[in-house]
Symmetry: C2
Subunit: 235 residues, 2 copies
Amino acid sequence: MNASRTARDRARAELTQEIKNEARRQLAVDGALKLSLRSVARELGMVSSALYRYFASRDELLTALIIDAYDAVGERAEKAAEEGAPRERWRRACHAVRAWARAHPHEYALIYGSPIPGYAAPQDTVASAARVPMVLIRILRETNPSPAFEGPPLTEGLAGQLRALGEQVTPDGERIAPDLPPQTLNRGMVVWTQLFGMLSFELFGQFVGSVDPADEFFDHTVEQLADFLGLPPAR
Amino acid sequence: MNASRTARDRARAELTQEIKNEARRQLAVDGALKLSLRSVARELGMVSSALYRYFASRDELLTALIIDAYDAVGERAEKAAEEGAPRERWRRACHAVRAWARAHPHEYALIYGSPIPGYAAPQDTVASAARVPMVLIRILRETNPSPAFEGPPLTEGLAGQLRALGEQVTPDGERIAPDLPPQTLNRGMVVWTQLFGMLSFELFGQFVGSVDPADEFFDHTVEQLADFLGLPPAR
DNA sequence: CCACGTCAAGAGCAGTGCTCTCGGAATCGT
DNA sequence: ACGATTCCGAGAGCACTGCTCTTGACGTGG
């Protein structure tokens, strides 16, 4: 009953994958703007209308690609941060994210650039989007940070937002980080935005004429952010 | 001889402006993706082909809008940082940029989001794009920073890039910042990327579920960055 | 005054996303 | 094993896009 069902389903799943692969290929060449359903259909040897059996719209295809991209970069970060001292894990995660971003600039732009269509549905994407920041949070939870400088005290409202963030439950029923003090979460937010701010500037060309190539600036800043977080010095 | 010529030219300049204004209007509503030459022409009561007398292509129109946007946010930042103590100028510039970004999210996306077409020509845009970072550099030049913490030493190559950056000449023949030590320029680069990293995350929806609304996080981070830069404490 | 340069208009091309309908094929219930 | 149902690819077609080329009118400068 489901050997045959899965036969159909398997064919369907395979073709769905092929469509996404071809779309990703065109994405890497021409960018999201130029990606057209008709041309991926053409390339796959089918007619454009047939493709609508698999994705209800161009936006839905894009959304699928967005989720895949979040998962791809998230997985890279997770793998990179698997083991080592906190500072080493932080370094490796940063470099893994940058390597992925530079290898797939258009996919990076898809997820961290301007939201392309009439905004892809957020809810499906959040779980995947959270994987990178979760890597950072895990590093912070398993270390005892001693930040390089204090910084201004948190305001009441901000501390509240951060505490609520730490209490949020993931899809698998765990709380994100009930043990992390708001100050630590705040520092995490800062380095998170800094990391992707750097990558966006590098990939979107804001660095041309200043720190371009950005390798050394990136490395230095990653180290500075580790100090800022208070990750114990390496070696 | 040129009273009449300028008569023609004035009509032309006016219509060029009207086209950009209408395009900006549609941009604010539908986003850059949906902006179509035909519909701005339609709205202006002319036929699409006539519009090509003013902009050679859709991309050229977009590029014009990009330059205008850079100039708009640059001017806001300059105005905001006109006077006051360094820290106050920094604060006001940051808030001016954020206010503009929130008021014109699609224009912000145009310049700080993913590069839209096959990359708009950079050279025309750099002068306008540099206005915001130049505001920051001017603040740094007119203060005597005492940063809140040292951070790792600059590598040789990075220091070289930053010195070269300081020696670059602006269109009006001035050097950018020959007097600023590389360490200071490096801190400037960091806060610059942090500022726009935060804004991009806020506007592109990465903060939903964490520090959303981002007002307090933004304010706090601006202050923290001022400490990081070593701007003398206010009052 | 008239020729030249500028301009808006229109038709047309190639391409797009998306819809609907139509036959054929695979699958399922019996 | 067969009929019913569900799925799927093909094709035509609609409304739209950016862009090109030609045509005819208008204002201006010699």
